[in-house]
């Protein structure tokens, strides 16, 4: 193993370096200059993102604990792009007075979780997976509690850290049983030895609940709404997009590679969970007034849709899942971007405040409309394609009724998405949010979303590119 082999870990290494660099630079900034870290950090991360797209070495490290291939690199790149957009969108908020001292913390914590996710994605055994998982979770709790003078933020933090601790406890218990029954924590060995003995099924379910917690599948989703609502907007968007997307990536990879021998079993579980998730998520989303909470439930419902990609167990399924996450990142970030822009300027987060927004801020309204249409799966925006492919994969497994339930749920979801549109376009408001101009970085972040929402769908190369690196369930 030469030193060059470490280049296989390029993403993680650069990110770790970046975290340290931000820390060091921040130490050298004067109190009044703390906000300068924003362009520096974003610039650095931008470079990282670009570098991520350069051809990278693939292979296995640490005796199989770590591996990279086209798919993992793609997933990491997708996450990078998402994070970059979030960073752009959060500039307005970060520049606010109240965040003065702890701006760099935002970057450090956020990028640390990203490192964790990257490790998760590249993990080749459960130890690495667990390590990445915790690295991705613990700083997140700190992020949730970022605005520590707000009770809600603190509440979000404690809810996140304690629930995730519980869930990872259960997950770990499952892992210990997997280890006990197979004698290995390496994916390939475990995958080869796994069968449907009760202990292994139980171990799988415990493991699955831990992952389900991360993706917020019903009934393991209850933390989601509260944490989303309490956290700062940009952190919420990070939760709902990046964290969820990464977890979905990992879940589908683990399901496809490790637990393939009990696929017939977990398909039933996923079926049940998917139906519950879509339905419950939608039912709760219907009645929300707070935009963040609303999007939290909507993202739960979306997680239910993602399950349809997993259940197919075929190549289309994985491609569609990755594709859907990509689309979902852009769509959801579009919506969160608008919310964050408005929240940062006016502090308003309720749906009622959005009444008549189109009259004063047409561009933001249009982006919001595009985003919710994309989330609802309305053509011609990308969400339609994402959803179509996801459902195609489920249908290819013969799950027509599941698809039907999913599409009906999509119809229900359209109802509340339209409520947002209605608020912005149709509802009258005596005091609409006044017109404002966001700063350039935020604008770039918003524009990127709009572009992505349009282009990803029509530009079939994206889908084909993903399809080139995905795989079907191992048989």
């Amino acid at each position: 193993m030469s030193i060059y082999d470490f280049l296989t870990m390029r993403h993680e290494l650069i990110l770790t370096a970046l975290v340290l660099l931000v820390l060091i630079i921040d130490l050298n900034l004067k109190q009044s200059q703390k906000h300068r870290i924003i362009p520096i950090a974003i610039g650095l991360f931008f470079i990282h993102t670009v570098v991520g797209f350069l051809p990278a070495q693939t292979g296995v490290l640490f005796g199989g604990m770590y591996h990279t291939d086209g798919l993992t690199i793609l997933m990491k790149n997708i996450l990078n792009v998402g994070v970059l957009i979030i960073l752009f969108q959060s500039t307005t908020w970060l520049n606010k007075e109240e965040n003065g001292e702890k701006i760099s913390e935002f970057f450090i914590l956020l990028l640390s979780t990203l490192v964790g996710m990257n490790f998760m994605i590249s993990s080749g055994d459960f130890l690495m997976l667990y390590l990445g998982l915790e690295l991705a979770t613990i700083p997140m709790a700190a992020l949730a509690a970022y605005t520590h003078h707000q009770t809600r933020s603190a509440e979000a933090g404690i809810k996140l850290i304690l629930s995730s601790a519980l869930s990872s406890g259960i997950l770990l218990f499952g892992l210990s049983l997997i280890y006990g029954s197979t004698g290995s924590i390496y994916f390939d060995t475990v995958g080869a030895l796994y069968s449907n003995t009760p202990m292994q099924v139980l171990a799988f379910i415990f493991f699955f609940t831990g992952m389900a917690f991360k993706i917020s599948l019903v009934p393991f989703h209850l933390w989601t709404a509260d944490v989303y609502e309490g956290s700062p907007v940009n952190v919420t968007s990070y939760f709902s997009v990046i964290s969820k997307g990464a977890s979905a990536f990992i879940l589908i990879m683990v399901m496809y590679t490790v637990f393939h021998s009990i696929a017939y079993l977990w398909k039933d579980i996923v079926y049940l969970i998917a139906v519950m998730t879509m339905t419950i998520g939608n039912l709760f989303a219907l009645r929300q007034k707070n935009m963040k909470r609303f999007l939290a439930f909507s993202s739960i419902a979306q997680a239910g849709f993602i399950m349809l990609g997993i259940i197919g167990g075929n190549k289309i399924g994985m491609t569609a899942t990755v594709y859907f996450v990509l689309v979902y990142i852009f769509s959801n970030l579009g919506a969160f971007g608008v919310i964050s822009a408005i929240s940062a300027k006016t502090g308003k987060e309720s749906m009622d405040d959005y009444d008549g927004l189109y009259a004063t801020n047409p561009k933001l309204s249009l982006l919001m409309t595009l985003s919710v249409f994309s989330l609802a799966g309305i053509p011609p925006v990308a969400g339609f394609f994402g959803k179509f492919f996801l459902f195609t994969s489920a249908a290819s497994g013969g799950y027509y009724w599941l698809v039907f339930i999913a599409v009906l749920n999509a119809t229900i979801s359209l109802y509340y998405y339209l409520l947002v549109v209605k608020a912005m376009f149709i509802n009258k408001n005596d005091e609409p949010i006044a017109f404002f101009n966001s700063d350039t970085m935020t604008k770039i972040g918003l524009f990127a979303c709009a572009l992505g929402i349009f282009v990803i769908g029509f530009w079939s190369q994206v889908y084909e590119f993903i399809d080139a690196v995905t795989f079907a369930i191992v048989n």
Binding site: I158, K159, L162, S163, L166, S167, I170, N196, P198, V201, L202, I205, F206, F208, T209, F213, V218, P219, F220, L222, W223, A225, D226, Y264, L265, D268, I269, L272, I280, L283, F284, L286, R287, I412
Partner: protein
């Protein structure tokens, strides 16, 4: 074969006139549109006469019998492999006869209307509609196939609708036009079903094929299809339903009296001379099929005709609105014609009824148009429709009086005027076929004479009424058509119909049967006598007589409550018991269900909100129990 392609122009000219007047009429002086319409129709009339002369005489030298000729035909629409709707012109005795009737009466009405409609709003509209009607009616009679006939059938219906509702600001006119349209539309549904059945079974719409004795319709295998009658019989009964509706046969006659809300020339043209006889024409057109293929259907025709004629005649005796009296009279006379067709056989002397029906159609067109136009002149003079407001008008309206009298005598069937000849043939035909029907017709003949002279005396004699302005005779533009029609009414009876218009195209010999004619004339005279006694001088006799009949009179006066029955069916049953429940059902049950779904989703959402209690430990409970539930389900319950 002689080229009759130019007959295409006969309907086409009115059509172009309709378009022209309709689009540009409001820009020209009213009188101009009238003149254009009239002259256009005059050309059409001339062409019709030329056609008639050529068809019956000049092109017919040395041949016995008349063949039907397809003057021209184009494909309008392909339906199935076999069924094609064509538009064309069919020249045969009855269509040529109808051409004459229509163009003559229509021309007279046009001329008359130039005077009658003077100063009316919508003068040009009136002429446009008249042209539309003429077009449709001419297209109808020239139809080469039953579907073309149906097309124009609908078009005459709508022209009639438009003309009845000409005074569209008058609610009663609007109501009448609606009623006319809907009732005939209902009948047309029967027509349509008949066409569907007939065309499906024969594979053709074409009249020539259908009526050919060796054609698919007549040679269609019989046998009971439904309720003991063959498919053909059923289809013909359905088709006759259409005819009955258009010809105001009982019980589909209710629209005709109300249709008198239209301008009087319209009543003369459409509701007396032409459109209402379309039903007769329809049966005549398909006569070979009826006679050879489905005599049962023909019996239905005969009875419907007989009942209608009696029914209408009785009502006519009690009405006081002169136009309504005439309307019931029309219905009664058309009943005669239907009956004549119904009692007829096919070919040679057996086809006497057919000839008689058409003959009566022809003569009736003349005298009934005359009566209506005369009535129009009277109404024009006294500004009222009600005979109670009239009396002693013979002094003021000499020409009208004279022509009206001629018409009354004609319709009463007094020789040698035309009505006598045609009615007599019908009597003879009925006598040979069915004695009951025959006696009904005798009775109706008497009633006809009675109510016509009741009308005549009430208007021109009777008590001398005081008028606000002295009534004065109509201008020549109105009286000349009256005189022309009177001429027709007097002399039309001498036309040799038995040589021209026969069931199989072959001429036959027919003689006056004095044993039937003399009693019928006597009955007519009796009726006239009765009327003279009661109405020539104002006296109490009519009231006494009404008292004698008691409830019978009341029923007849209320038209046997047919309107009320219809009103009950439409208002109560269709509106109250079908439409309103349907609308309610749609709003509350069907739509309510959709709303219920939405509300259920909403309620469920509210119901389960407790799960999201905000308490961390409850989240833990749910989490752990979720995990345990999954374990229970998939480790212990699932069969694998």
């Amino acid at each position: 074969m002689v080229d009759y392609t130019y007959t295409l122009l006969i309907p086409l000219i009115p059509f172009l006139l309709f378009i022209f007047i309709g689009l540009t009429g409001h820009k020209m002086k009213p009188i101009v549109s009238g003149l254009i319409g009239t002259s256009g129709l005059a050309i059409a009339a001339i062409l019709s006469y030329i056609t008639a002369i050529r068809y019956f005489w000049t092109d017919h030298i040395g041949v016995i019998g008349y063949k039907s000729i397809k003057a021209f035909e184009i494909t309008w629409l392909h339906l199935t492999d076999k069924l094609t709707i064509n538009i064309g012109a069919l020249i045969d005795p009855i269509s040529v006869m109808m051409l004459i009737v229509i163009t003559t009466v229509s021309l007279m009405v046009h001329i008359y209307s130039i005077g009658y409609m003077k100063g009316e709003r919508g003068y040009h509209r009136f002429f446009a509609f008249l042209s539309l009607f003429s077009f449709s009616m001419l297209g109808l009679v020239l139809a080469t196939n039953i579907f073309q006939m149906y097309i124009f059938w609908e078009l005459v219906g709508v022209s009639s609708f438009l003309l009845i509702g000409f005074y569209y600001e008058k609610p009663s006119a609007v109501a009448a036009s609606k009623k006319a349209f809907i009732v005939t539309r209902f009948a047309d549904l029967g027509f349509l079903i008949g066409i569907l059945i007939l065309s499906f079974n024969t594979g053709t719409f074409d009249f020539q094929l259908l009526t050919s004795p060796t054609g698919p319709a007549i040679t269609m295998p019989g046998g009971a299809a439904f309720m003991g009658m063959s498919v053909l019989t059923w289809s013909l009964i359905f088709i006759f339903m259409g005819g009955a509706g258009k010809s105001a046969m009982f019980p589909l006659h209710v629209w005709l009296p109300d249709a008198m809300e239209g301008p009087t020339p319209v009543s003369a043209l459409i509701h007396a001379a032409t459109m209402v006889v379309a039903g007769v024409y329809l049966v005549a057109r398909l006569f070979p099929v009826y006679a050879l293929g489905a005599p049962d259907a023909l019996t239905v025709v005969a009875w419907v005709g007989g009942i209608s004629s009696l029914f209408a005649a009785i009502i006519a005796c009690t009405q006081t609105d002169i136009k309504r009296v005439l309307a019931y009279s029309t219905m009664s006379q058309i009943g005669y014609m239907m009956l004549a067709l119904g009692v007829s056989g096919y070919g040679g002397h057996d086809g006497l009824g057919f000839m008689a029906g058409n003959f009566h159609l022809f003569t009736h067109a003349m005298f009934k148009a005359l009566l209506f136009l005369g009535a129009g002149a009277i109404i024009h003079a006294v500004h009222s429709n009600d005979m109670k407001d009239m009396g002693g008008l013979r002094k003021y309206l000499p020409i009208t009086h004279a022509t009206f009298l001629i018409a009354c005598i004609t319709i009463a069937g007094i020789p040698p005027l035309s009505g006598f000849w045609s009615k007599d043939e019908i009597m003879v035909a009925a006598w040979h076929h069915n004695k009951i029907l025959f006696s009904i017709e005798y009775l109706v003949a008497g009633l006809t004479a009675f109510y016509m002279f009741r009308l005549y005396f009430s208007i021109f004699w009777g008590k001398a009424t005081h008028y606000h302005h002295t009534p004065h005779e109509a201008p020549y533009v109105m009286t000349i058509p009256l005189m022309i029609l009177a001429f027709g009414a007097v002399f039309a009876g001498f036309l040799p119909f038995h040589a021209l218009v026969t069931s199989d195209g072959m001429p036959f010999e027919s003689h006056l049967d004095w044993s039937i004619a003399i009693p019928s004339v006597l009955i007519a005279l009796l009726g006239i006598g009765g009327a003279t006694a009661m109405y020539m001088k104002a006296n109490g006799l009519p009231d006494k007589l009404a008292g004698v009949f008691g409830n019978g009179y009341k029923w007849a006066y209320h038209k046997f409550y047919m309107d009320e029955v219809y009103l009950f069916v439409t208002k109560k049953i269709i509106f109250r018991f079908i439409s309103q429940p349907v609308a309610w059902f749609d709003r509350h049950i069907v739509d309510g269900f959709m709303n219920l779904v939405a509300r259920t989703v909403d309620n469920t959402s509210n119901l389960i909100k407790g799960f999201q209690s905000g308490r961390l430990q409850q989240y833990g409970y749910v989490f752990v129990s979720g995990a345990i539930a999954l374990v229970l389900i998939f480790v212990y319950l699932w069969n694998f």
